[in-house]
C-alpha cells in the first residue's frame, strides 16, 4: 500500500514526540489501544490553568505509520485549542487530512480516543484538585 505524502511526512518528521510528567499540574494523559491489536497511543496535553488553552502536546505511539501520523497530527491540532474545542476533533478530520485508506481508519479512531482520554484525564485531575481544595 502506498502512503500519502502527509503520512510519510509525519512518519519521517513526527511532531511533538515525547512525554510530560504525568503528575505535572495541567497535564492530561490518554493511553489507548492494546499491544495485541498492534496499536498503542499515549497522548498528553498541557493546559494553561488560567486560560484553559492547551499550550503543548506530546505523543508516543506503537503502531503502523498511519497510527504514528494520526497521533502526530493530533498533537499539532491540539496546540492552541481550548478543552472544548479539542473535544470537537473527529477521526474523520484526521482521515481527510492524511488521506487514510479504509483499512487505516482504525488509526484515526484510536487518535480520537486518545484525545478524549487525555481530556478526560485532565478534567478528572482538575475536579480532584478543586474538591481537594474545597474540603480544606
Amino acid at each position: 500500500m502506498a502512503y500519502s505524502d502527509k503520512v510519510v511526512d509525519h512518519y519521517n518528521n513526527p511532531r511533538n514526540v515525547g512525554s510530560f510528567g504525568k503528575d505535572t499540574p495541567g497535564v492530561g494523559t490518554g493511553l489507548v489501544g492494546a499491544p495485541e491489536c498492534g496499536d498503542v497511543m499515549k497522548l498528553q496535553i498541557k493546559v494553561n490553568l488560567e486560560t484553559g488553552v492547551i499550550e503543548d502536546a506530546r505523543f508516543k505511539t506503537f503502531g503502523c505509520g498511519s497510527a504514528i501520523a494520526s497521533s502526530s497530527l493530533a498533537t499539532e491540532w491540539l496546540k492552541g485549542k481550548t478543552i472544548d474545542e479539542a473535544a470537537k476533533i473527529k477521526n474523520t478530520d484526521i482521515v481527510n487530512e492524511l488521506k487514510l485508506p479504509p483499512v487505516k481508519i482504525h488509526c484515526s479512531v484510536l487518535a480520537e480516543d486518545a484525545i478524549k482520554a487525555a481530556l478526560a484525564d485532565y478534567k478528572d485531575k482538575q475536579a480532584s484538585v478543586t474538591t481537594g481544595a474545597a474540603s480544606k
Binding site: E36, G38, D39, V40, K42, T61, F62, V103
Partner: protein, 408 residues
C-alpha cells in the same frame, strides 16, 4: 562495488528471473511457439520436446522417478488447491478427514476452510515454540477417516524445515496419502520424493529464479499410485489432471531454473547461510529484546525472521522501504489486519506477532547489502523505540502484560 537501491531482501515472496532463465525462454515466445499437444507437425513436436526436457529437469531436482509424475499448474497456489481438493474429492468414499498444521501458508489454509464448509473435517496440529511440528502429534491426530496428511516442507515466514521423512513414514504406515507444500524449499535444500516418501508435492517456479505463472504438482505413480480429481476440465492435458494449453515458455524457464538450482544448490545455500548468519549476528548483537523466530538449526539458508519488542512491524518496514524491500508478518501489511498467525502459533505474545520482520536473501544478495540492511534496521528500530509508549513503560519498569488494555 557500490550499492544499488532499492535493495531486495524479500526473496520468499518472489525472486527475479535468472538471466539464463530468460534467455532459455525467449525463443519459445516467437519462432518456437508450437502447441505441445499438436501431434502432427514439427511445431508441436518441438514444443513437446521442450516441455519434456523441462519436466525431466524438475523431476531430477526433486528426485522423481518419472517426469510424467509432474503436473504443470499456474503456480504453487493452484498446485496446492489441486492436491488438497483433488484428494478430498477422489477419496471421499474412503474418508473425509485431513490432517495439517497451524502454520501452513494461506493457499493451504483457505483451501482447507473451503473443504470444511463442504463437510470435510480438518485437524490443525500445533507447532512447538521453535516452529517444528511434533511428529507424534501428527500421529495422534489421525483417525480411521483420515485420507490425507499435508505438512509444508519449510515455512514461508520463519523458514523452519519440518521432519518430512518422519511424517511421511507415519502416513505410509497408516496407508494415508502425504502431501507437502514445498514451494519455499524446492531448489533451496535437497529434496528427494522417493527417499523421503512424499506422495504429492507442490512447487512454484518464481521462488527459484524462474518465471511467475507456472508451478507443478508432483503426483506419485507407483507405491502407491495416487489419484486426484481434476479441478479444470478440458482437453485432458497433463494426464487428465489439469487441462489447458501448456505455457511452453514458462515451463522452459521453470526447467532451466530447476537445472541451475540443482547444480548450484550446495554452494549457493552455504553462501546465503553465511550472509544470513552475519545479518542475524549484526542485528541481535546491537538490539536488545530482539527475538529470533524459528528453530535456528532447521531453517532455510536464506531466511531470517526476528521480532523486535515494542515496535510494530509495518512501521519498521516504512522506515526502510525507500531503500530496502523486506516483509513483515504484522497486521497492517496485509489486508487482514491480523498479526502473523505463524508467529502467534509459536506461543509468542500477540505484541511480538505484530513485530516480526522477515529478511529473505537470494542469489544476487551481496555482503555489502547485508551490512547496509543490518545497520539501517538497527537505526530504525532505535528511532521507533524512542517513539514507543511500550518501550517507555518497559524502561520505567512497568509490566506491560499487567496493564488492563482496552482492546478494540
Amino acid at each position: 562495488m557500490g550499492l544499488k537501491f532499492p535493495i531486495f531482501m524479500d526473496a520468499q515472496s518472489t525472486t527475479a528471473c535468472d538471466p539464463r532463465v530468460v534467455e532459455a525462454m525467449l525463443p519459445y515466445f516467437t519462432e518456437k511457439f508450437g502447441h505441445p499437444a499438436s501431434r502432427n507437425h514439427p511445431f508441436g513436436w518441438e514444443a513437446e520436446g521442450a516441455v519434456d526436457a523441462a519436466r525431466g529437469k524438475i523431476a531430477a531436482l526433486i528426485g522423481a522417478r518419472d517426469p510424467k509424475e509432474l503436473v504443470f499448474t499456474s503456480g504453487g497456489t493452484e498446485a496446492i488447491n489441486l492436491a488438497l481438493k483433488g484428494v478430498a474429492e477422489m477419496y471421499k468414499e474412503k474418508g473425509t478427514h485431513l490432517v495439517t498444521t497451524v502454520i501452513e501458508q494461506r493457499a493451504s489454509m483457505d483451501t482447507f476452510k473451503r473443504l470444511e464448509r463442504q463437510g470435510v473435517s480438518v485437524t490443525y496440529v500445533p507447532v512447538q515454540a521453535d516452529g517444528l511440528v511434533d511428529v507424534e502429534e501428527i500421529r495422534k491426530a489421525i483417525t480411521d477417516k483420515t485420507i490425507l496428511i499435508s505438512v509444508m516442507f519449510a515455512n514461508n515466514e520463519i523458514g523452519t524445515i519440518q521432519d518430512i521423512p518422519a511424517i511421511a513414514r507415519i502416513a505410509k504406515e497408516k496407508g494415508i496419502i502425504f502431501h507437502t507444500d514445498a514451494t519455499q524449499a524446492v531448489g533451496k535444500i535437497p529434496i528427494d520424493v522417493e527417499a523421503m516418501g512424499i506422495d504429492l508435492l507442490s512447487c512454484t517456479a518464481h521462488l527459484l529464479y524462474g518465471p511467475k505463472g507456472v508451478g507443478a504438482l508432483y503426483v506419485r505413480r507407483k507405491g502407491p499410485r495416487v489419484r486426484i480429481a481434476p479441478m479444470i476440465d478440458g482437453g485432458g492435458h497433463e494426464r487428465g489432471m489439469r487441462s489447458g494449453t501448456l505455457p511452453v515458455p514458462l515451463i522452459v524457464g521453470f526447467g532451466k531454473a530447476a537445472e541451475i538450482a540443482k547444480a548450484d544448490m550446495a554452494a549457493e545455500g552455504a553462501r546465503l547461510a553465511k550472509l544470513r548468519d552475519r545479518l542475524q549476528d549484526l542485528i541481535l548483537s546491537s538490539v536488545e529484546e530482539a527475538f529470533l523466530n524459528g528453530r535456528p538449526d532447521r531453517r532455510l539458508p536464506h531466511n531470517l525472521n526476528i521480532s523486535f519488542a515494542y515496535v510494530e512491524g509495518e512501521s519498521v518496514l516504512m522506515g526502510l522501504n525507500k531503500e530496502t524491500a523486506l516483509s513483515s508478518g504484522s497486521a497492517c501489511t496485509s489486508s487482514t489486519l491480523e498479526p502473523s498467525y505463524v508467529i502467534a502459533a509459536l506461543g509468542a505474545s500477540a505484541e511480538l506477532a505484530h513485530s516480526s520482520i522477515r529478511f529473505s536473501l537470494h542469489r544476487f544478495t551481496t555482503a555489502e547489502e547485508v551490512e547496509y540492511v543490518g545497520q539501517r534496521t538497527i537505526e530504525v528500530i532505535k528511532r521507533l523505540r524512542e517513539m514507543s509508549p511500550l518501550y517507555e513503560l518497559a524502561k520505567e519498569g512497568v509490566d506491560i502484560k499487567a496493564i488492563k488494555w482496552k482492546a478494540e
